[in-house]
Symmetry: C2
Subunit: 229 residues, 2 copies
């Protein structure tokens, strides 16, 4: 009876851990979409909301850390269960960073001059959507414990990287032709880079989901490629 | 006798964990310095060495992860000991990211045209040195379990951030005046940003060292500020 009670308590802890990570992920997804909307619309209130939400994501990461440590201390889980706790801890850390990137994009709203029909800005939403979908789909794969769906997300990262390289080249040409916009376009370069990093982090999560589900690392772990440009 | 044996084995594991983290840190410090040297000298061989070293840093992180999981599984440590293992795991993750930033800087060697006495490039080494010192000093604080030295590192991050803001403004002016250099200066902007992130990550480690040594979180955790520009 004691053993059964312990197993049940452990399952409840894991469910709570996964729930916290899912909550963090939902907030991060929302921030990715809203940060780009705020940038495109020049909407500083929306940007302020994204920045405020990041504090909540940070708090949730703190809760994941504390709960994970308590589970490790009280239940001393083994094998698959231990892996489950460690992976929740690590994914929470990555989702927190994704939230930071969305916040960084939001912080640039207000530093882009002449926003109306500003050509470089029109290139970013499609790239942002790709990266946002990667985050959404990898969190779905985590919830479903689905290593195949996770691996599929990793393959999409090359598309985001190619998008980034193309945007970088386009921005450089634009600055050469429109020197008055250099300051604003430089800001947008960092936005493009932040989006590219969100894609990388979705890939990192996918690797962890794969590890959690199978116990095996994928052959090449967590590389952060510099742009080819 | 069994208990004593277990305590000794645990201490050996922790010493090994800390040794792996120190080894990662030493390699990351070397990469920070060499990436900047490679950039200033236009030395692609040196850059290739930094890029190759990053693979070793990634491997060491994998070893830390595996050892930490084994310690948690076999020894089920409590309280201070548990915190020690979790902090080693987290610091290894951050050092791995610092290695990635150094690698990203190295990857830009070869994309900077007209390197000889290229004015924007002369601004970066001093900033890089500041960030490299933060990494060095926070790892020393970790080795010495010294929360005061760790807190002192955190205070220095504002200097790196101010450096970054000033360099960003300078680069924008330079591009306006020298449109032919825009592509190269844009590369250097990312280098400056990578250095700024290295400073942020040294700060993150400092917070973890403080937590490991005292059991308390510092009031404001792991924020990644966007530049004021």
């Amino acid at each position: 009876m004691v053993a059964e009670h312990t197993v049940k308590a452990f399952d409840e802890d894991i469910t709570r851990l996964r729930g916290l990570v899912a909550e963090m992920g939902g907030l991060a997804e929302l921030s990715i979409a809203e940060a780009m909307d705020a940038l495109v619309q020049g909407n500083e209130d929306l940007a302020a909301g994204v920045i405020a939400r990041d504090k909540r994501i940070d708090q949730l990461e703190g809760e994941v850390d504390k709960l994970a440590v308590r589970v490790l201390a009280l239940r001393a889980p083994m094998a698959d269960d231990l892996r489950e706790v460690i992976v929740a801890l690590k994914i929470a850390g990555v989702v927190e960073r994704i939230g930071d990137y969305a916040k960084n994009i939001a912080k640039r709203v207000g530093h882009i001059e002449g926003r109306k029909r500003f050509e470089p800005l029109t290139l970013l939403p499609a790239m942002n959507e790709l990266a946002g979908e990667m985050v959404h789909d990898v969190l779905t794969a985590y919830a479903a414990r689905d290593p195949v769906a996770a691996t599929e997300v990793i393959q999409r990262d090359a598309k985001v990287d190619a998008f980034y390289d193309s945007i970088f080249r386009n921005f450089v040409s634009y600055m050469v032709e429109n020197p008055a916009t250099i300051s604003s376009v430089a800001q947008l370069m960092f936005v493009a880079r932040n989006i590219e990093r969100i894609g990388d982090h979705a890939t990192n999560i996918a690797e962890m989901v794969h590890f959690a589900a199978t116990g095996n690392y994928l052959p090449d772990r967590g590389d952060v490629p510099a742009p080819a440009v």
